[in-house]
Structures are given as C-alpha cells and as structure tokens.
C-alpha cells in the first residue's frame, strides 16, 4: 500500500516508524517538541524526544557520545549551515572514532538538516556545503529528491551503523508523492533513473532533479531524449549507474546547486572522465551555481542558481555536432 504524502511528512513517518521499532532511537533538536501537543513527544515521551538550546556543538557532540554507547540519535539541525558551527563533530569525530578504535566502537547517528532554501534566505542560510562531507571515510550522505526516497533513505539512515548526514531540500518540503506504507528502505549507494532517455544523461540531486525533469520535458518537445539520474546518496556514490547511462547516451550534463569547485558535480565528472572516457561523444558539461555567496535580492539569486533554461542550453551544447570543438 502507498499513500500520498508531502516530503516533510514522509521524513517524519520514517522517523516515527523507526522510533516505534527501536527504543534506542532518540530524537532531539532546537525548536521542536515545545509542548505536550507535539506528536513525537506524545508518542515517545520526554525521555526520547527532547528540545535543545542553540548549542550545535553540544547537540552534535552529545549525539556522537550517545551513539558510541548504544543509542541511535537523530539530531534535527534545521539548516545544514548551522552544522558548520560544529563541523568537527560531522567531519573529524563521528566518522573517525570507529576507525581509530580499531573497530571497537560504532557511531550510528543521523544529522538531519535542510538546505538550499532559494527563497531569499540569502548569504548564510542557503548555500550548499555537502561537497565537504563527500569522501570522508566513515561518513554517509543522503540527499533525497522525492517523498518516497525521503522516507526510504531516512529509514536506511536510522538503521545504518555509521554516521549519516541526511540532507533534505527546503524547496521540496511540501511536494507531494506516493509513499509506500510500512517498512520501506532504499539502500545507500543505489541511484535511481528518474526518467529514461537515449540522447543525453543528466545527473542531478534534490531540487535539481525537479529542474532537470522539467528541462527534459522541454527537450522532449524538441525531440531530444534525456535520461535523468538521481544518485540519491552522495556517499556512497553509485558511479556504476551513471557509467551505465553514459555508456548508452554518450553525453553527460551534471546539475548541481553548489558552486562549481565546491560541488558533487566535479567528483562525478572526474569519475566519468577516468572510467567512462571511451563512452563520451562530447565533453562533460557542468551546470552549477555561479561563484558567489547566495545573494538576497531575487534577480541576483536567480542569476547565480542553475535553472531549467541553463540545463536546456547545456544539453544542447553537448548535442551539437563536434561538441568537443566548442
């Protein structure tokens, strides 16, 4: 059975179901569970559902300690950029402790945060920081684009024995989609073909998947068949699925809301350059944010962000005869 749900509801459903299943899962963060009316507090009580002060270092660091000793904490951090205050915990503590202990401890936790809120949140609330969390041995990174994926990846994140950063895109919060009931897990490291096509592969994550699909619709009107692939987790990254698609289409456009050199796109491009070079009929094309902090004013903000039009243009540029020479 499946039910139509909003993106945010699907995440909450996964957390709620996992808390029911496993008494070691605890859930806390700022500005949540303020009153007895809170559904999580009602269901799971004050011992497992807590409100925190604005203390990211303590929130994230305590999760590490709790995870080392038997709990499975989920920390609600709201905006991914607030994690930067305590990035040590995400980068240099949680993922390293198991290794340094020679495999004696594990750190099963979820740092949950929204990101990319391209709605006038300006310079410190809507940049993308996930590139810094890719390639950290021991750290996993989920970044769903649909309500169903949001649920399946959150379930997998909570059950994972490793630290997971779970990033949900704020622009998708109220998007609706069919979400399977009950146990629904999407394994990490498995990309999803969101639209199949034959002329070009577009790789995108989160909100960019929506933009890539819209661009693919436009391209279809002009007889261009684009395949849209969502890796769904950036660590681990399903390079094989991308290579399979590129092998079929021979062309690759990577869409990423981050700035170019701080994007997941550069990593994907490098993997394809190394392992898929023979399949490519044109150079790989990146559609990323321009190199600026996200500005407040709308015309400035739209100018720096990837858009449907920029994706369409990029696809056309790799499709023209002799693209390598352009």
């Amino acid at each position: 059975m499946a039910r139509e749900m909003m993106f945010a509801e699907a995440i909450a459903a996964a957390i709620s179901e996992e808390m029911e299943r496993d008494p070691n899962v605890v859930y806390y963060g700022q500005n949540m569970a303020m009153t007895e009316r809170d559904p999580f507090l009602k269901k799971f009580g004050k011992n497992r559902v807590r409100i925190t002060p604005i203390s990211e270092t303590a929130e994230m660091g305590a999760a590490v300690g709790a995870a080392m000793t038997g709990l499975r904490p989920i920390v609600e951090l709201y905006m991914a950029e607030f994690m930067l205050v305590a990035f040590d915990e995400a980068i240099n503590e949680a993922p390293r402790l198991r290794y340094m202990s020679g495999g004696q401890v594990k750190v099963p936790l979820v740092f949950k945060a929204g990101f990319g809120f391209a709605a006038g949140w300006a310079g410190q609330h809507s940049n993308c920081t996930y590139h810094a969390m890719m390639g950290i041995p021991g750290l996993k990174l989920a970044i769903p684009s649909t309500p169903a994926d949001a649920k399946g990846l959150m379930t997998a994140a909570i059950r994972d024995d490793n630290p997971v950063v779970y990033l949900h895109h704020y622009m998708l919060t109220i998007d609706k989609g069919e979400v399977p009931d009950g146990d629904y897990i999407i394994p990490f490291g498995v990309a999803d073909v969101k639209r199949s096509g034959t002329d070009v592969t577009i790789v995108a994550t989160a909100w960019m998947v929506k933009k890539a699909l819209a661009a693919a619709d436009k391209l279809a009107e002009e007889g261009i068949s684009a395949e849209v692939i969502d890796p769904r987790t950036l660590a681990p990254l399903d390079v094989d699925a991308i290579l399979t698609s590129v092998n079929k289409t021979g062309r690759l456009v990577i869409v990423d809301q981050a700035t170019r050199h701080a994007s997941a796109a550069v990593v994907i491009a490098a993997e394809v350059a190394e392992r898929g070079f023979q399949s490519l009929k044109a150079p790989v094309k990146l559609v990323t944010s321009l190199d600026a902090t996200i500005p407040y004013s709308e015309p400035l903000e739209s100018y720096v962000l990837p858009s449907e039009d920029k994706i369409v243009q990029a696809v056309k540029s790799v499709l023209i005869e002799n693209a390598a020479a352009v």
């Binding site: 604005i54 990211e56 607030f82 310079g123 410190q124 609330h125 407040y296 015309p299």
Partner: protein, 343 residues
C-alpha cells in the same frame, strides 16, 4: 544616578523620538507583508518591544563607538543615523538598499555609521564584536564596542569563548544580552540553565569574573544607567561587563517560513500560537516601553501631548517616505551578482 535634569530635556526627547522611529519602522516592515505580498523574501526579524533596551543602551554612546547587533538588526542603524529608506530598500532587495540588495534583513551593515555588519548565524556576532573591540584596543582608539545578542545566543560556544577572551584581554566592550524571553519558538525556561533554576541570566558573568547585572529592558532610563556604568568601566580599560536587559518581543520571531510561491506573513506571537498563553502576551503588551516612557515624560512636564504627537506624526511620515523610497528603487541587475566576491 543621573536624574532627568542631568540628562536634559533635549536628550530625553531624542530618546523618545528614536524609540518611536524604531517602532514605526518595524510596523511598516510588518505591514509590507500584507500590503505588498512577495516584496520581502526570506526571513525578517523585528525589534518591536526592544525599543527601550536599544535606545537606552545607544544613548550612552560616543559618536564613534561601534555597534554589533544580531540578525535582528533593523533598530540600531535607525538610531545611528542610517536613512530608514535605505534600510527598507535593503529589506525589499533593491539597488538603493544599504547593502545594494545583497544582504537583506538579516545582514545589514553600515560601516560609515559605525555598524560593521550583522551575522545570521546565532552567536557568531558576539565573537565578531569581540574582534571589533580588539581593533579598538590595539589601535588605542578610545572606542567602546556595543555587542547585542539574544538570550538564545548565549547558549552558543561563541558566547562563552568570546566573554572569556574579552575578560582576559580586558577588551573595551559591553555585552548586552537581550532577554526577550524566547529563542524563536522556545521559551527561555526550556533552554537556559539559569532561567530553569530561577536565576537571572546575568549570572553567567560570574563564570568569567566580570560584572553582571540584570536590568528592566522596558525602562529606557534604567538601561541607560547600567550601560553607562559598563561603558565607563570599559573605557577606563577595566574590561567587559555583561548586562541582561529583560524585555518582551512583541511580534512573532519572524515571518512564517513558507516555500514559494506560498505567501508569508507574520503569525501571532509564539506565546499565543505555540503555548496558548494569551494572558502572558497581553500583560507584556500592556507594559509597552514606549507608552511607559511617554507617560513618564508627560507626568514630569517634559513632554506635552502636542509635542508627543508631533514626534509620532514625524516618525509616521518619515517611515511612509522610507516605504515609498524603497518601493521606487529598482532591483539590482542580475550580472551584478558576481560583484563583491573578493576585495
């Protein structure tokens, strides 16, 4: 203690005027969400309720003393002499805005008026203010820095680290903890160890062996009195103080967080919306710092009803102009987005 005679009628009326100007400005920001939906994007935080605290503190400034507020930063530049139209234009994302539309409500900056800039990351402004005081100390400028931040911010590492640093270096800075009883949707009793134990938040000063005092932030003259003492101490080279200024935020934390194109507006205050404590909210509104100062001045014969109206009408006209100026200002052109990335 300074009496009203010591302060003088002109200064007292200046203070009343500044309080009224802040309130009027913030009401216009709030009304914009209704009158011009979509014109203000992102997240906007208002200073209504904080007027006595802001003006009482800033009334003790020397002309070149730097001011470092949090992201709730509209009120201070109004007092510092920034044109309200330029603040409004920034909040509307226009080219004539204080930051040319790049920063928005949370990131105002006006260095020409001794306001170097505000951070949207809770607590970081406290560390920046500490650094502004370092400049003053190294260059021996005689300035004292005014650092304003919320009760919630005082739970960040940056708060503890900065106060300790400022104390050991005896930096010329006054830390003003604006206890408006809430951090976003969370009541102070749920997030602050001192508050939970029934203690004042100024107790935190003891941890750094610096003076700490709690003052009624609705009483503009009481705030002025305590801040003046701390400023004198800082200016004399004796180091920082912590002042807890207790008042009540009158509007909700910020406009509702919505995903475009869903329009956003100010919801009701959290006391009502989240906790269902209407009586708490109404009691707070009944001790409005502006009304209180107004009747004090009138009772003391320092202000007539007619003078008060003239001040209030003046503020209304000024902020009406600010809205008009901001609405008429063009948007920046898109390619400008790549300016100012590097110096």
């Amino acid at each position: 203690m300074q009496t009203k005679e010591d302060i003088g009628k002109d200064r007292l009326l200046w203070m009343y005027n500044q309080m009224v100007r802040i309130r009027e400005f913030e009401e216009r920001v709030k009304r914009t969400f209704v009158e011009h939906p979509g014109v203000i994007r992102g997240h906007t935080h208002l200073a209504d309720g904080a007027e006595a605290s802001i003006v009482g503190a800033l009334s003790t400034r020397n002309d070149d003393d730097p001011v470092m507020p949090s992201y709730r930063c509209h009120g201070y530049p109004i007092v510092l002499g920034t044109r309200p139209g330029r603040i409004m234009a920034e909040i509307y994302g226009r080219r004539d805005g204080l930051c040319k539309g790049f920063g928005g409500s949370m990131h105002l900056a006006d260095p020409a008026h001794h306001f170097p800039g505000a951070s949207g990351i809770v607590g970081q402004g406290i560390a920046h203010a500490t650094g502004v005081a370092l400049t003053a100390q190294v260059k021996n400028t005689g300035q004292v820095v005014y650092s304003f931040f919320g009760d919630g911010s005082s739970k960040q590492g940056a708060f503890f680290e900065s106060l300790n640093l400022a104390a050991i270096w005896k930096l010329p800075i006054v830390f003003i903890l604006e206890n408006n009883q809430y951090q976003a949707y969370t009541h102070i009793s749920l997030e602050d160890a001192n508050a939970a134990a029934g203690d004042p938040l100024s107790k935190k000063a003891e941890a750094f062996s610096i003076p700490g005092v709690t003052v009624d932030g609705n009483d503009v003259l009481a705030v002025r009195e305590e801040v003046a003492k701390a400023v004198a101490r800082a200016r004399a080279g004796a180091g920082p103080s912590l002042i807890e200024s207790k008042f009540y935020r009158f509007s909700a934390h910020g406009n509702a967080i919505t995903v475009p194109p869903v329009p956003t507006q100010f919801p009701q205050h959290e006391a009502v919306e989240v906790y269902g404590r209407k009586a708490e909210y109404e009691a707070a509104r009944a001790s409005d710092p502006i009304a209180r100062f107004r009747s004090q001045l009138i009772n003391d014969g320092l202000l007539t009803e007619a003078e008060a109206r003239r001040i209030e009408d003046g503020a209304r006209a000024e902020m009406e102009d600010a809205v008009r100026f901001a609405l008429a200002s063009p948007f920046p052109s898109p390619e400008e987005a790549l300016n100012y990335v590097f110096a």
